[in-house]
């Protein structure tokens, strides 16, 4: 019995960690995903220094996957945790966090500063009910990557791309069109891109009603065409961004729709394939109508229960200053949200495809803005899975399920 008590005491003693640090600059906890290159660490250090003792930014790493990040933050915010000062939110979370009262809207004067020079679509993701709730931090969007040894002239529309790939398959050459069709968020992004490119949107602007119409039918048709052509990768139903990248690097594909990170990766991994790798803007759904690729990225928000809101607002403005944005882009592969940075020679050197990215970002689309977004997304990817089973007939089911998700009715897949 004594041993048991001793062991328990030992455990308690070990558990009691060090005490709070003494008074000094305010510690701002920055909850953000693990950034491998250390760019965020450098930014945090630079900004802490520049604050002249007003604050110290301490990075609190979150899990690698977006879902894990959201879980960790939601759990603590629902418990009114005051240690959450700066939050790195995925672009789709702002309406949810704002509605639940977990983040603080920016004061008018500071909001104006944030808006100046920032990409419009990113600002759209950060706004809810007319107020700016978060500050765009970095962004991302997909391009069409292709093998210029197999495809001399890149396609402009999905129809053309599928036809080219079918032709290649008849010649026995690598012909897959790599796209993310697993039952997850990336599939919703694909669907949203197609709907937006056909001129529509999934949910109304106030996030209350589903608005799928003819544009959705076109989107479903496009998926149907791809999935039933020789161009489709047999594992499309299990593919996320990384799997499609690996397939392209393995030389099995002629086209790939993916984020710019695949470029430096191919350069390092497969020089042979890399020398034939070219890029262009995402294919359109309708000939002549520009495509509206769905945007991704991170917005920075201030926690509603933070004890140091003023310092947090200041820190965020520093973290997204042009120098830091360039560093994030060059070291960390995270495209910037400030338009001015796109003209910076350092940035352009690291991103040969900067023109295509910028064009895409200027006409990008956003995912449905609603506090129930997670449920909506689950219903979309659930109804449309696997891609091989998709057809225009799914429209009715899709509409009713999305509306249920918005109203928080029923179960979520």
């Amino acid at each position: 019995m004594g041993i048991v008590l001793a062991a328990l005491a030992l455990a308690v003693a070990a558990g009691c960690g060090g005490g709070q640090s003494s008074s000094g600059p305010v510690t701002l906890n920055w909850y953000i995903f693990p950034e491998f290159s250390g760019a965020f660490v450098k930014s945090a250090a630079a900004c802490s220094q520049a604050s002249n003792g007003a604050y110290q930014i301490k990075i609190q790493t979150l899990p690698n996957a977006a879902d894990g990040q959201r879980q960790q933050m939601v759990r603590r915010l629902a418990a009114d945790d005051s240690s959450l000062d700066i939050l790195g939110l995925d672009v789709t979370w702002t309406p949810e966090f704002a509605e639940a009262g977990w983040i603080t809207p920016w004061p008018q004067d500071l909001a104006q500063k944030i808006r100046n020079g920032t990409l419009q679509t990113m600002l759209d993701t950060a706004t809810w009910n007319g107020k700016l709730y978060s500050a765009p931090f970095n962004t991302n969007t997909q391009l069409l990557w292709y093998r210029k040894d197999l495809v001399p002239n890149p396609p402009k529309t999905w129809k053309q791309m599928i036809a080219m790939a079918t032709e290649l398959s008849k010649q026995g050459k690598p012909h897959y069109i790599e796209i993310q069709g697993a039952q997850y968020e990336g599939y919703t992004v694909w669907f949203n891109t197609l709907v937006a490119s056909a001129g529509g949107q999934i949910v109304s602007d106030d996030g209350q009603k589903v608005t799928l119409n003819q544009s959705a039918v076109q989107a479903l048709d496009t998926i149907h065409q791809l999935a039933n052509s020789p161009a489709v990768d047999p594992s499309i139903g299990n593919q996320m961004e990384d799997q499609t990248r690996l397939q392209f690097e393995a030389g099995r594909a002629a086209f790939e729709l993916n984020y710019p990170y695949v470029y430096p990766s191919a350069k390092a991994d497969v020089p042979d394939i890399f020398k034939n790798m070219a890029w262009t803007v995402y294919p359109t759904v309708k000939e002549g109508v520009p495509t509206h690729v769905t945007i991704g990225g991170i917005d920075l928000a201030v926690g509603a229960f933070s004890q140091h809101k003023q310092q947090a607002f200041d820190a965020i403005q520093c973290l997204r200053s042009p120098q830091n944005e360039i560093r994030n882009a060059v070291l960390g592969g995270l495209p910037p949200v400030l338009e001015s940075v796109y003209n910076d020679p350092k940035f352009q050197k690291a991103y040969p495809m900067w023109q295509a990215i910028f064009t895409t970002l200027k006409q990008a689309s956003v995912r449905p803005k609603t506090p129930a977004y997670q449920s909506v997304s689950l219903q979309i990817s659930y109804t449309l899975s696997p891609p091989t089973s998709v057809s225009a007939k799914d429209l009715g089911t899709l509409k009713s399920r999305i509306q249920d998700a918005i109203d928080s009715k029923g179960l979520v897949p």
Partner: protein, 276 residues
């Protein structure tokens, strides 16, 4: 054991088959951990391009080393406490008569059956209030609690099988129930106790739900939770090589622990064979 040569060969072959089936997926992980990232998709079982980068990478940052230490310490302490408490209760259930026995056994099972995912939110709130969130104690307590049913059931099943005569003989010799427990029962219960210890250890070792919900820094994060923080060369890249390397590294302490404990099982077996 007087086995014919033919029997020895067939049992020997069976041994080899069992080891192979257990080992092949593990060898695949080892192979993945040594594969250069550019060859991950080559579909071959053996790496064509070898690299130590995955291993050096996981030790570069404190995340993994701290997680290893946390995992080992928390699992060992939880196992020790859990088996100790479980053994005492199991002895009472198996050998003694008292009111409320059925209720205890049923509630222990109830606790083992309730899905832990719906318990982490209230537990998280409670732990934060008590100040044990993100500490070793914060994980040891749920691990102990939720492994107790398994301990109690397993141990009482083994205690039941120990012949009653031994205890009576000890009582006749003048030993108190507690002395009978220590001198007679425990040596015979060794196989059961160490079996339970291994199972409880591995339960704590493998747990993900509590680890990811009740920790937030390197202070107490264990390996399964730490794997969720591994990052590839970019946001989208899956850190296959790193996870494979980490899996191999964390299997080593398990192998050591098992090797140590399994000798006790053998000792217990030979002791059990000499029963009067």
């Amino acid at each position: 054991m007087n086995a014919t040569p033919k029997q020895r060969v067939s049992w020997g072959a069976a041994n080899v088959v069992v080891v192979l089936i257990a080992a092949i997926p593990v060898l695949w992980l080892v192979s993945l951990s040594f594969k250069d990232p550019s060859t991950i998709t080559d579909g071959s079982f053996y790496p064509h391009k070898w690299t130590w980068d995955n291993y050096s990478g996981i030790f570069d940052q404190p995340l993994f080393t701290h997680a290893l230490v946390n995992s080992i310490a928390i699992a060992l302490i939880s196992t020790f406490l859990g088996v100790a408490l479980g053994a005492m209760a199991a002895y009472a259930i198996a050998r003694l008569d008292f009111p409320g026995k059925r209720l205890l056994v049923a509630s222990a099972l109830l606790i083992a059956m309730f899905p832990p995912i719906s318990l982490v939110n209230p537990m998280f709130n409670l732990w934060r209030t008590l100040g044990i969130f993100d500490t070793w104690v914060g994980l040891i307590i749920p691990y102990m609690t939720f492994s107790l049913p398994l301990s109690i059931y397993t141990l009482s099943a083994f205690f039941r099988e120990i012949p009653w005569e031994l205890e009576r003989a000890a009582a006749l010799d003048g030993a108190t129930p507690i002395q009978a427990l220590r001198r007679v029962i425990i040596p015979l219960a060794a196989p059961g106790v160490f079996t339970t210890a291994i199972l409880v250890f591995l339960y704590c070792w493998n747990d993900f739900v509590f680890a990811i919900s009740l920790t937030s820094t390197n202070n107490a994060r264990t390996v399964p939770a730490a794997l969720a923080f591994f990052t590839g060369a970019s946001q989208f890249e899956q850190p296959t090589g790193s996870i494979a390397a980490a899996a191999v590294v964390i299997t080593i302490p398990v192998v050591i622990v098992v090797l140590l404990f399994q000798r006790r099982i053998v000792a217990g077996l030979t002791a059990g064979a000499v029963k009067g």
